[in-house]
Amino acid sequence: MLELDVRKRLREFTFEMQLSLERGVTVVVGPSGSGKTTLLRLIAGLERPDSGHIVLDGRTLFDEHTFIPPHRRDVGYVFQEYALFPHLDVAANVGYGLRARHVSAADRSERVERMLDRLEIAQLAHARVTEISGGQRQRVALARALIIEPRILLLDEPLSALDPSTRVRVRGELRDILDRVGVPTLLVTHDEDDRAAFPLRSLSIA
């Protein structure tokens, strides 16, 4: 579970947030410029709060004495435009976090295969990430984030990069995948329809 209480000065205003997050999907809805991405970047360690604390599963990621760098946080991050590595194929993208953890090549390809199966994109293993559709790209980004068995999954506007006609379908698929994997998830969006898809827990920020 995630315990967070942070303040950070941004250009326009001071971002402040308290959040306590357990299992399931929590949706944070707010207009652009309200600090949604900042919230995720603070949790991932890509930015440093001015003050406060972040505790994930009993491990302090940030307080006045501590700053765990992003590569040691075990946080799964799905970026807004997915940020897939264009110089690597789908399988290498998904296996990247295992390579970071020095998992042997044989183990790696087995686990990548299993993850691709699980997200029903096994046929894309050797495709270039620039040649697949938006919905497929999202699945690759999810697979890449989930394979490191993150303690929390962060989704930044996971549907905004898609055109409206596929958005509804992918939203449904995303909900099913997140239900299945059961990783605590924080999803930020400006889209009220995203909130409606995950009716259990949501909050708004100004």
């Binding site: 970047r41 991932a44 360690g45 760098p69 992003p70 590569h71 799964g76 991050y77 940020a83 990247y96």
Partner: protein
């Protein structure tokens, strides 16, 4: 009418560049082909390849961090540093050579200190490398700076969250994505080092086997009336330049 004038003016400059080079290549005969395997030519060839490769290695090791800082960091005076890096491109090489001599030469600023350490730099092979790094490194740093600035920061962030530390992220994400620019810059830098003349002759002299690189050998052989050797080495340099330009274009195309 205007179109014809434009075409003619353009053709004049193109011809002005191509005709002398073609003429030089046209001079190639049996004498020249024999001359290229003469001991003095081979000595210059060897020295040039050795020194330019060392100069390139030095530039890669020191120039990549500099390019990275210029591409990413924001600090007071960044624009000044940026301009300073490009300065050797426009400074006359002879001026660069004199500057190196006045600082690193026997009687230069650091002369007494270097002597006390038992180091002599001027008129050695090390001086050749220093002159080459001085004039050629900007070509790499410029290209690398541009390439590194274009790498999507989000991809580096993704790499970090997936567990790769900053150094491995640089090696596995930043470098591969900037590779075409890094490669193009390295090629241009190497070619510029290979053609280096003015700073070398000022700071390193013109000693066979020590500081007589290909361009200096061309000059010396011309002066001493040995035109076949000068021609042969020149054609070799033109040939290498052609290859480098083609490879740079290829690298740019990949980007």
């Amino acid at each position: 009418m205007t179109r014809a004038a434009v075409a003619i003016l353009a053709a004049v400059l193109l011809a002005f560049i191509v005709i002398p080079l073609a003429g030089l290549v046209g001079h190639l005969g049996p004498n020249e082909l024999a001359a290229i395997t003469s001991p003095s030519a081979l000595l210059a060839l060897r020295l040039s390849f050795m020194t330019t490769l060392i100069a390139l290695a030095v530039t890669l090791v020191l120039g990549t961090p500099l390019a990275y800082i210029l591409a990413r960091a924001d600090f007071p005076g960044r624009k000044i540093v940026d301009a300073l890096v490009d300065l050797p491109i426009v400074i006359p090489p002879a001026v660069a050579g004199l500057a190196l001599l006045l600082v690193f030469g026997r009687n230069g600023t650091f002369g007494p200190f270097l002597r006390s350490m038992g180091i002599t730099l001027s008129f050695t092979t090390a001086a050749v490398v220093m002159a080459q790094v001085f004039v050629s490194s900007p070509f790499y740093v410029r290209a690398a700076r541009g390439g590194l600035a274009q790498v999507d920061r989000q991809l580096e962030a993704a790499s970090l969250t997936l567990g790769m530390g900053p150094l491995r992220t640089f090696a596995f994400v930043t470098i591969p994505l900037a590779a075409p620019s890094l490669l193009g810059g390295a090629l241009l830098c190497w070619a510029r080092a290979l053609g280096e003349f003015g700073a070398t002759i000022m700071f390193a002299g013109n000693l066979a086997g020590v500081s007589q690189t290909l361009p200096l050998a061309v000059y010396l052989n011309l002066e001493s009336g040995n035109l076949p050797v000068a021609t042969a080495l020149s054609v070799a340099l033109i040939f290498v330049s052609l290859i480098v330009i083609s490879l740079v274009r290829l690298a740019e195309h990949r980007r």
